[in-house]
Amino acid sequence: MPLVTLRHFTEEDIPVRTALLRETRFQANLNDLGVVTSDEALAARQRKSITEEHDIKRLFTICGPGGDIVGFAWITSIDWRSQCCELSFAVLPRYRGAFGAAAVGAAHAHIRAELNMRVVVNQVLEHNTMLVSTEELAERRAVRCPWDSYTLGEWRTACYWTDSEEDVRRSREKSDRRRREIAARIRSGGRT
């Protein structure tokens, strides 16, 4: 899987993220603020996050191996004292297949290893199966919240769960195990 890096979101990134805010699947899966907000207002909101809102929000840019922007991650509802925050991310359409999982991993790794967050709250709208399958969502969710969001003309049901350090460790082990199994199958020519 490709190497991705995380860096601080900068003013130069605003046009790329604004375009993403205008993208249909982003609007359905996260929020549709971009439908009714002007470019100037969207830019101003993001600029304010960069310059003033460090205590309540942090935005990051996710880059591919060549430094190209592949997506964005951001944390909100930050409770510094409790070491808890909500993590959101969005990958540019052309990179979704290649970088989705790596982007999620990079964002989780950064906020734990550098911002010292211990509990991460995840929210995924139930219809959004881009990165988490329906089965996995049903397995992981701790709360299912109907009528949570209204995006693109529809009420959406949200699934919430938290990831502690222990959850991340288990998830990583599971992922590693799956990767080893796939590698073994490939090596054996699919004879297992």
Binding site: L3, T5, H54, E114
Partner: protein, 173 residues
């Protein structure tokens, strides 16, 4: 899970590079005092291993806007000297004491800063704090800094708590 890294550098720029003329370091470097915004950007672009803990600043966890605000609030001065960034802030409780920092492993730029502070700030005492294992320790030792102690678990970097070394040196005026 894929191996990932978390780095602050926004551009693929070799961060050691100063405002060069395209060749090597100039024979007589001219120090340039940076504005807080320039200093924040310079620290963000420099290699993480040299900048984390630079006068308590951390480009990994602070974006340039937040770094610039901290530099202003704490009255930190940052100078570019050839390829190195040098920083200092005066101890408000003892104006002859200055806390200093460098991003260079070479003692020469720091030595130049100490000379400047001795002459123009009448500083006689210098203090530095660096994360344990920092490569810039060699520059401090080369300038005569001696250990003053260790601040236990003072920093959280790359997933674990780390000690900070306190060093000092005197230049009697």
């Amino acid at each position: 899970m894929t191996e990932t890294t978390a780095v602050p550098a926004p551009r693929a720029v070799p961060a050691d590079t100063g405002p060069t003329d395209g060749g090597g370091p100039s024979p007589t470097p001219t120090p340039a005092l940076l504005t807080p915004g320039e200093a924040a950007r310079a620290l963000t672009d420099a290699p993480v291993r040299l900048t984390r803990g630079f006068l308590g600043l951390d480009p990994v966890t602070r974006n340039t806007a937040l770094l610039a605000r901290q530099i202003t609030d704490r009255e930190i001065r940052v100078t570019r000297y050839d390829r190195a960034l040098l920083g200092y802030t005066v101890n408000p409780l003892q104006p002859r004491q200055v806390m200093v920092a460098t991003t260079s492993t070479d003692p020469a730029p720091l030595e130049a800063l100490l000379d400047f502070l001795a002459v123009y700030q009448r500083a006689t005492s210098f203090v530095a704090e660096v994360p344990d294992g920092s490569p810039v320790l060699t520059a401090l030792e080369g300038c005569g800094f001696i250990p003053g102690g260790i601040l236990r678990g003072h920093l959280f970097h790359t997933g674990r708590y780390r000690d900070v070394l306190v060093l000092h040196t005197d230049r009697e005026g």
